[in-house]
């Protein structure tokens, strides 16, 4: 996996790393067993007549229970990480739907906007992204083609995602989970405590002709630098102050 740049991305990577160990061990054991069997029991003579075993209930119970335990472990680790991600404010649940489906925890988290330092409205279009910064100072829309989204480091940022035409997906692997960007629906994703750096993002839901070229790169800069950039951008775009 690409090196994580937020605690959330780190959580995902940690989970992956542990699950991978389970997976590799399972893989090696099963393949080794298969290889040993295939080599050791080659036919030596056409007259071979092996013992006719029809099964073994104890052994079969064994290879039901052991994988079940492994799978249970992987399952509990997964939902544990999912819970932690939720605790961090990251959510793969859409705002509107959360209410409809009555998931209280997720709804609460999203309502709890006090922690959020910056909200950005992200609109996916065929085939570019559009960003509107909503701070209490000014509203500024930055229509983007290949220009990165600029974010301050070390803050809690919420992206409100929606699409103008077809489904797209927000994916900056180093910054946390991926989420579909659906038309007619608003979903939210949190970016918390990101480290400064340039991160490549790419639309990850097939959205037609130019899907391959629809980047959503992100540039995370220290807070002071962000403030300077933001003031400059507001001035340049002639955005209106909303206070």
């Amino acid at each position: 996996m690409l090196p994580p740049a937020t605690p959330d991305a780190q959580l995902i990577k940690n989970l992956y790393d542990v699950v991978l160990i389970f997976a590799v061990v399972t893989f090696v054991l099963v393949e080794a067993l298969l290889l040993v069997t295939a080599v050791r029991f080659r036919r030596k003579s056409t007259a071979d007549s092996p013992v006719q075993t029809h099964g073994n209930n104890l052994a079969e119970l064994g290879w039901t229970i052991v994988p079940a335990i492994v799978v249970a472990a992987v399952f509990f680790m997964s939902i544990d990480t999912a819970g932690q991600l939720a605790g961090h404010g990251s959510s793969t649940a859409p705002v509107a739907r959360v209410h409809a489906l009555g998931d209280k925890v997720a709804a609460q988290r999203i309502e709890d906007a006090a922690k959020v330092d910056l909200v950005i409205e992200v609109t996916g279009r065929q085939w570019f992204w559009q960003y509107s910064y909503k701070t209490d100072g000014a509203l500024m829309t930055d229509s983007n083609d290949a220009k990165p989204l600029v974010l301050p480091a070390g803050k809690t940022i919420r992206l409100d995602l929606t699409a103008a035409d077809v489904i797209h997906a927000w994916w900056v692997p180093q910054l946390g989970p991926m989420l579909y960007v659906n038309p007619g629906e608003r979903t939210a994703i949190f970016i918390e405590n990101a480290q400064p750096g340039d991160y490549i993002g790419q639309c990850n839901f097939y959205c037609g002709l130019q899907h391959a070229y629809m980047l959503n790169n992100v540039k995370v800069v220290p807070e002071a630098e962000f403030e300077a950039w933001y003031r400059g951008a507001v001035a340049a775009s002639g955005a209106v102050a909303t206070k």
């Binding site: 509107a96 739907r97 409809a100 489906l101």
Partner: protein, 192 residues
């Protein structure tokens, strides 16, 4: 009634045929289950009301009439099938004609209803699903009537007996399925 027993092969054919029809009905059931799932899913997740504001539910009366017709046809169908099991050819002809008549009446009422519905189908998901459920049910009624007509012709020709009446069974099973689908449609679309 001197019943000539069927050869094992012929009895087997009847079993095979009946089971085939039952399985076909199972798959038909899933088709309607999918449409009902869509109805339920859109109803639950709709941000607005369901039916959406401004959409008039189609009038209740024709559907209620059709429910009565459907239930009556279920009864006549049952009697028709029972007649031939008792080797009563005339009974089969009479009650099968009655069933077909009721089914045709049903379709006539349905046609009136469609006129109203065609308008709302293109405006909302609600209307589209409403129309689709009725339309695909009506398409099955059509198939059911066709089956009844074939059974009628063949029963007039005297091709059925107490032992040989696979097609009658098929028509009966399929019709029962149609009746049940209608009851579900009526309950879901009109009552709640």
């Amino acid at each position: 009634m001197a019943a000539i027993p069927l050869s094992p092969q012929a009895a087997q054919r009847q079993r095979i045929g009946r089971f085939g029809v039952q399985l076909f009905i199972a798959s038909e059931t899933m088709f309607f289950a999918a449409l009902f799932f869509a109805w339920y899913y859109l109803g639950v997740t709709a941000d607005a009301a369901w039916p959406p504001a401004g959409v008039q539910r189609p009038s209740f009366a024709p559907a209620a009439v059709n429910t009565v017709l459907t239930l009556m046809s279920a009864v006549t169908m049952w009697i028709a099938a029972r007649s031939i099991r008792r080797d009563n050819q005339r009974g089969l002809v009479f009650w099968m004609s009655a069933s077909a008549a009721l089914a045709l009446l049903f379709m006539a009422v349905q046609t009136i209803e469609f006129r109203e519905l065609a308008l709302i189908a293109q405006d909302t998901s609600y209307g589209s699903l409403f129309l689709f459920l009725l339309f695909f049910h009506a398409a099955r009624v059509f198939v059911g009537v066709a089956l009844m007509v074939i059974v009628l012709i063949r029963s007039i020709l005297g091709q059925f007996s107490a032992q040989r009446h696979l097609l009658v069974d098929a028509a009966e099973m399929y019709w029962n399925f149609i009746v049940i689908v209608w009851l579900a449609v009526f309950t879901v679309l009109y009552l709640f």
